[in-house]
């Protein structure tokens, strides 16, 4: 029952190997799952935290998502995208579902209001090894138009629907739909994402 491989330190699997690990996980291999945890837990937690803005809820969601990965690893379909994208899609949906539930929304308003009175920001400590990735993402986000960037930010990092996004930005629905799409396409090209 013990986490294995912990003392080997975090070793991010190279391309393709997360898929291999999931294959082993689907056969009940806990050691493989431990490696999956190492590879994805930080991103799942960080994303959940961005959307939910609450450490306890973010951890719950992270736990739920990882257990779901264990539960349904056999249903990962490599034909539909990478293992990482599959897991992060689970994570995003889970976080978004929670934030859209009425109670969570009420909490979120409160937290957002509290946040308005805070100094610059709370969450700036960072992992050195993530810096390059972040820098690249930031540079690419910088190449979007302001409306593209705002739309992607609200939808992905806040969990807003495109209707809510349009409301918040005071923009037509059709415009937001289009900006989400062409904004992501520009990001895709800038980041060199292939599929």
């Amino acid at each position: 029952m013990h986490a294995v491989a912990r003392d080997n330190g975090p070793v991010a699997p190279g391309p393709g190997s997360l898929e291999t690990l999931l294959e082993r996980v689907s056969r009940g291999d806990q050691q493989a799952f431990d490696s999956v945890y190492t590879a994805v837990a930080g991103s799942v937690l960080g994303l959940a935290h961005r959307v939910l803005r609450d450490p306890a809820q973010s951890e719950e969601v992270t736990q739920e998502v990882l257990i779901e990965v264990w539960r349904s690893a056999a249903r990962f379909d490599a034909g539909r995208g990478s293992a990482m994208a599959w897991i992060m899609t689970l994570a995003h949906r889970r976080a978004v579902d929670r934030v859209r539930s009425a109670q969570a929304s009420a909490d979120r308003e409160q937290r957002a209001a509290a946040r308005d009175h805070s100094p610059a920001f709370d969450e700036v400590s960072e992992q050195v090894e993530r810096r390059l990735e972040r820098e690249q993402v930031r540079r690419c986000l910088g190449q979007l138009t302001e409306l593209q960037r705002e739309s992607v930010n609200l939808a992905y990092y806040r969990g807003y629907t495109y209707r809510e996004t349009a409301d918040v930005l005071g923009t037509a629905l059709g415009t937001v739909k289009t900006r989400l799409r062409d904004g992501l396409i520009r990001l895709r090209d800038c980041l060199g994402v292939t599929s």
Binding site: M1, R6, S26, G28, Y37, A41, G42, S43, L45, G46, H49, R50, P55, A56, S58, E60, T62, Q63, E64, I67, E68, W70, R71, S72, A74, R75, G81, S82, A85, M88, T89, R93, R94, R98, D116, P119, A120, F121, D122, E123, V124, S125, E126, Q127, R130, E133, R134, E135, V137, R138, R149, R163, L180, R181, D182, G183, L184, I185, L187, S195
Partner: protein, 252 residues
């Protein structure tokens, strides 16, 4: 034709989970018959995944164990070509554990949240009250985080809480990013210091009453070998009135 042309533009919103459940279901049906949209959604999801990497943070130490311990109790599904749905944790066992989850505060909160938090906060500040000072502070912190020579050192505070000291010799700036500081009441305050060859140089006060936050130190890290934190009477002191509750070394 028109409807369908309209549907094609939903790839971005769909990839970001920004559609209502009904719209998402309709678009999923469209995906089954539209290879172009399928391919685009695949690519845009991979792109969104990069946005998730960019906000990764360090999981608290207990999380791995909590997940690993629960595995034997979770029955694995057989292969099937069905998109899985995440099932929320329910039941008394999990409810019992929730207090622990809540207590496991956001340890060394991390990461990349910074850049977006800066952007989001800056926009919010600008939109809501035009708080130029906050914007400037956020911008300084953002610049510091992005400095190629920025170093990060983490320490824990005696009595609870912890902090990360981010410093850049090149920019001559240092930030103190703290979490879960034990509250001090109104009469006392946390004070920051640069330690330099054994002498302590005042570097500002932590905003009274705040337990989590980030701030730039007054003055630069040049010549300093550490950042120290002491508890001082409200308003601060010219020299430390007691031993530090935390010392975080700065690489020179």
């Amino acid at each position: 034709m028109n409807d369908s042309a309209d549907l094609h533009t939903l790839t971005g919103a769909y990839a970001l989970d920004a559609l209502s459940p009904a719209e998402a279901a309709e678009f999923a049906r469209h995906l089954a018959e539209c290879p172009a949209c399928s391919q685009e959604v695949r690519e845009l999801r991979e792109t969104a995944t990069r946005l998730a990497f960019a906000v990764a943070q360090v999981p608290p130490p207990g999380l791995r164990d909590r997940v690993m311990w629960s595995l034997p109790e979770v029955r694995q599904l057989p292969p099937l070509v069905v998109e899985p749905v995440v099932v929320p944790l329910r039941g008394p066992r999990w409810r019992q554990r929730l207090p622990y989850l809540a207590a496991a505060a956001c340890l060394a909160i991390a990461a990349g949240a910074g850049v977006w938090a800066v952007q989001a906060q800056r926009d919010a500040d600008r939109a809501r009250d035009g708080n130029i000072q906050a914007e400037q502070r956020a911008s300084d912190l953002e610049t510091l985080m992005a400095a190629p020579d920025a170093t990060l050192r983490t320490g824990s505070m005696r009595g609870g809480g912890g902090a990360t000291v981010v410093s850049s010799q090149r920019l001559g700036r240092t930030a103190f990013v703290y979490h879960d500081l034990p509250p001090l009441g109104t009469a006392r305050v946390y004070q920051l210091w640069y330690s330099q060859n054994g002498s302590m140089i005042p570097a500002g006060l932590v905003t009274p009453g705040r337990t989590d936050g980030a701030q730039l130190l007054a003055g630069g890290p040049r010549g300093a070998d550490a950042v120290g934190v002491t508890v001082e009477p409200s308003g601060g002191s010219p020299t430390p009135s007691g031993p530090p509750v935390m010392v975080v070394p700065i690489p020179s």
